[in-house]
């Protein structure tokens, strides 16, 4: 954004890609000072956060199963989704094996080949281009940056709380103006803690909030409508961001928010991204531009 704002450039291309084989190897081997103790992969760090959250506000698989199942419902409507043909029920979730307990297999994101890119420009230029512009209403970032050794933020507030406050302030809206969310979902717990920090529910009330299909097609607050990283594909922050853009452009076919999926046609979508083990957080509020 600063590159555009400063006038350095006109069209900025943002890209992510990975070949799954090398991604899996790297994820499995991410192994700083914890490797002598067998803490490998991102799953270990996030599972440590999730376990402490179970202790502090009594979340757990009864919350996470609704996230895994809800996103899989969206994936069934998305021809690109890697798990499109692999439906998941609450019973399937409960019967799935543990990898790094408390996470079962469906709590983990996909590891895949592929890439994703998008282009940013000024609204002025965007008006003359092929696609309907989707503008950035608000941005926020907050980075607790603490390592696993100083674990105060693992159960919230993560950076999400302060980042969201900034983004809402810039956008000049409130949470109730948001029609759908595209949340970085490396693990199911990441979705829970992010939405909890954004204030969609009180700590520990996630199970009730997610139950009954809140985030699914037909639900009151659609979340990760491509299937997300749990069921569509992992492209870091570009999985949520590009899905928000495509939804606001109205180009999502069978999964399009609106009458097609018995949901509200979206004006405003909230996106998130986070890094490390909840050490960094960025959020972005997008809207369908109407002059």
């Amino acid at each position: 954004m600063s590159a555009l704002e400063s006038g350095l450039c006109r069209y900025v291309l943002l890209t992510y890609a990975h070949s799954g084989d090398s991604l899996r190897r790297v994820l499995d081997e991410i192994s700083g000072d914890e490797a002598p103790f067998g803490l490998f992969g991102a799953a270990g760090g996030y599972a440590l956060a999730a376990r402490r959250a179970m202790h502090e506000f009594h979340t757990g698989p009864d919350t996470w199963k609704h996230i895994a199942v809800g996103q899989r419902q969206w994936a069934r409507l998305n021809p690109r989704a890697i798990l499109r043909d692999r439906p998941l029920t609450l019973e399937d979730y409960e019967a799935a094996p543990f990898l790094v307990e408390p996470f079962r297999l469906p709590d983990n994101c996909l590891v895949n080949d592929g890439g994703r890119a998008c282009i940013l420009t000024s609204l002025e230029r965007a008006r003359d281009l092929k696609q309907p512009p989707v503008t950035i209403m608000g941005l926020g970032q907050h980075n607790p940056s603490a390592d696993l050794y100083q674990p105060g933020h693992l159960t919230g507030p993560t950076g999400a709380q302060a980042a969201f406050r900034q983004a809402l302030g810039m956008a000049g809206i409130t949470r109730s103006d948001i029609d759908a969310c595209q949340i970085y979902d490396c693990f199911t717990y990441t979705v829970e803690i992010t939405l909890q920090d954004y204030g969609f529910f009180e700590p520990g009330q996630g199970a009730q909030w997610f139950a009954g299909g809140t985030i699914e097609p037909g639900g009151a607050m659609p979340v990760n409508t491509s299937g997300g990283q749990l069921a569509e594909a992992y492209h870091m922050g570009l999985t949520p961001l590009t899905e928000a853009v495509m939804q606001l452009m109205g180009r999502c076919g069978a999964r399009q928010l609106g009458p097609e999926t018995a949901t509200k046609k979206p004006e405003i979508i909230l996106c998130s991204d986070n890094g490390g083990v909840l050490q960094t957080h960025a959020c972005c509020i997008l809207r369908r531009w109407t002059p």
Binding site: D28, E29, S31, G32, D33, E34, A35, P36, F37, G38, L39, F40, G41, G44, A47, L48, A49, R51, R52, M54, H55, P97, F98, L99, V100, E101, P102, D147, L148, Y149, Q150, P151, L154
Partner: protein, 137 residues
């Protein structure tokens, strides 16, 4: 087939004194000379006051389980014989948290806030690692 050994800790200039003390079964962390903050991991600067001088204090070896996970899959061949094994964040009584293993206890018995005590495991290549076991009773 030879199973590769478990990964070694990073013995860089910041961390070497910690691992050196482990060889004689002492759990040492840095304490800022200026403000007294006890910190981990070891580093050049005190994150609280930016003091540059620190000494090493020996911990009691007692703490509690802040959080833990159970690995049901080995992501590294050296851990295949250990699954299911427990990785924990241990909050030392002195303040800092370490990542380590909980041993001497069935994984299903481990819980958050469980009191634990350091126990030492000597590994090849003159590496000794601090593990933790429940304090009985």
């Amino acid at each position: 087939m030879t199973v590769p050994g478990k990964p070694s800790p990073r013995l860089d200039a910041d961390a070497a004194p910690f691992w050196e003390a482990c060889r004689s079964h002492r759990l040492q962390v840095q304490r800022c000379t200026a403000c007294g903050q006890v910190r981990w991991p070891p580093a050049f600067l005190c994150p609280r006051c930016h003091g540059r001088d620190a000494d090493w204090v020996t911990c009691s070896g007692k703490g509690r389980v802040y959080s833990f996970v159970v690995y049901h899959k080995a992501f590294h061949p050296a851990f295949e014989g250990d699954v299911p094994y427990v990785v924990a964040i241990v909050a030392l009584d002195e303040g800092p948290c370490l990542v380590s293993n909980i041993v001497g206890c069935d994984p299903s018995r481990v819980h958050c806030e469980m009191p634990v005590q350091v126990t030492w495991e000597d590994r090849p290549n003159r590496i000794t690692v601090p593990l933790f076991r429940p304090i009985d009773g």
